[in-house]
Symmetry: C2
Subunit: 321 residues, 2 copies
Amino acid sequence: MEEKKECETSEDCQSCGQSGSCSEDDKQAHRDQMLKENLSRIEHRIMVMSGKGGVGKSTVAANLAVSLARKGYEVGILDADVHGPNIPKMLGLEKEKLIGTAQGMLPIPLYPNLKVLSMAFLLPNTDAPVVWRGPMKHGVFQQFLGEVEWGDLDYLIVDLPPGTGDEPLSIAQLIGQVDGSVIVTTPQEVALLDSRKAVVFSRMVHVPVIGIVENMSGFKCPHCGKEIDLFKVGGGEKAAVELQVPFLGRIPLDPKIVQDCDRGQPFVAANPDSPAAQAFSEITDRLEEFVLHQEKAGPKASSSEKKEKAGRVSKFKEMLK
Amino acid sequence: MEEKKECETSEDCQSCGQSGSCSEDDKQAHRDQMLKENLSRIEHRIMVMSGKGGVGKSTVAANLAVSLARKGYEVGILDADVHGPNIPKMLGLEKEKLIGTAQGMLPIPLYPNLKVLSMAFLLPNTDAPVVWRGPMKHGVFQQFLGEVEWGDLDYLIVDLPPGTGDEPLSIAQLIGQVDGSVIVTTPQEVALLDSRKAVVFSRMVHVPVIGIVENMSGFKCPHCGKEIDLFKVGGGEKAAVELQVPFLGRIPLDPKIVQDCDRGQPFVAANPDSPAAQAFSEITDRLEEFVLHQEKAGPKASSSEKKEKAGRVSKFKEMLK
């Protein structure tokens, strides 16, 4: 049997001139090779999960990505919610469309060092539902990870839809080595019930749990300043202790977050001094610590690569001042 | 070719003594037959959907079912959120387990005329995630609809997980003739974006849209009584006008709803005089009107069946007094 050569094109199989003579197996092998090459340029891969929807998972994912970018890192954010892709709307990119090049699709830049990819960029209009079963979603994730020109990234933040079904399974399987998962919950018991499932799921697929974020935690009346017991407080921290995973912090409910999401401006950039932005900043620090601690345990990058990365980080910090 | 006889057992294929000699095709035909028989005893089938999670879809589904039961109807509620099954917790049934009999599984009764079925009743503990792809979920829905002894129902309310993927597709396909869908949203734009997709989806699968419910609509500080602009007001109604579907009503945000959900007591039963319960009651009336209007357009039940049903309804009304 003739030994298979690695495919030499950097083009995906729909745009490659040689694909007519390739078998389905050849094409899959080429896709896997492109995926592997793309992933090798992404230093840290983080999954943002929740058991339940509507706990602010996308808000947390978007603001974590913006916080990391503001610290100077090269960041990508992959909106893996195919049916309800809200990241573009939250970041003011809802009118953008993906552009394909011979080298692959280009993600949409929010800042020079923050790139965004979402199903929303491929839809004909914002009302169009994506009526797909699991295998179709797996296929699109393979393209989003393997055939998109992400370039060199320090962090890829994947915003997953709620639940423990096809999407998180496909993402965990395609990425292979995920650094860790951030589990977002609100403090009320019904949400905690599902978040605990997300922690167990993360362990099942061998993704370390970076920790639990308690969102919409506590609320003060903007008129009289008194505390309102809306979704309660402290449930996320209690769950973290019980499940023996780190607690990353609590983000207070702030109507400005809802308004900023609707207006498409990243909250942490628009209100850097608010208590909620402060909370995001502390959570980002803990995420960085976790990742650095992991690196110490088993360094991935060589010293010359680290030096190059340090230079890149300070260049972006300069640009964002 | 020998003509196939209908299977005469009312048992599912895992419990039937003859199944050893049946082919896979026979078994599937038997499952389809059981599904058809079960569905023929359910007068109205309603899907409760949302594009986005966390908008209170399960809360609306549970309280609609309780409202209908309190009006004397025979009601079933199917929790079709396999990954985050919260209906049992909301109705105080979280410790219940399904019991299998030769005639099928028995749903759990909340009232004599309100039966509940959920994946939660099959899990070893509340932390256990269900890590399933779509085909597994399709299989369990086939069982939940075909091999569960629902009996005669006036209404089956199906609480779907968010999105337009495997679950709503499977449910729409298995039930076949769905009377209509109730789309739940919150007023903020990010949620509306996804709810509009749910409306388009419903039309795509030929399920009439009964209307949009605007949940968490408006909020008054419990201390100073002033209006707080948390998730805004009116977005759901605006979307209904734009998409030309009925608007079913708005439910104000009430911290008591969160508390009651966590405590496992149905809000509309515990606080019948609150503005939110009033809103649920009006929405239930509109649902009934829709269904009666549909019946007039093409009556399903004979007059003797209607008489029997009327008798059953008044019997339950008596019991619930």
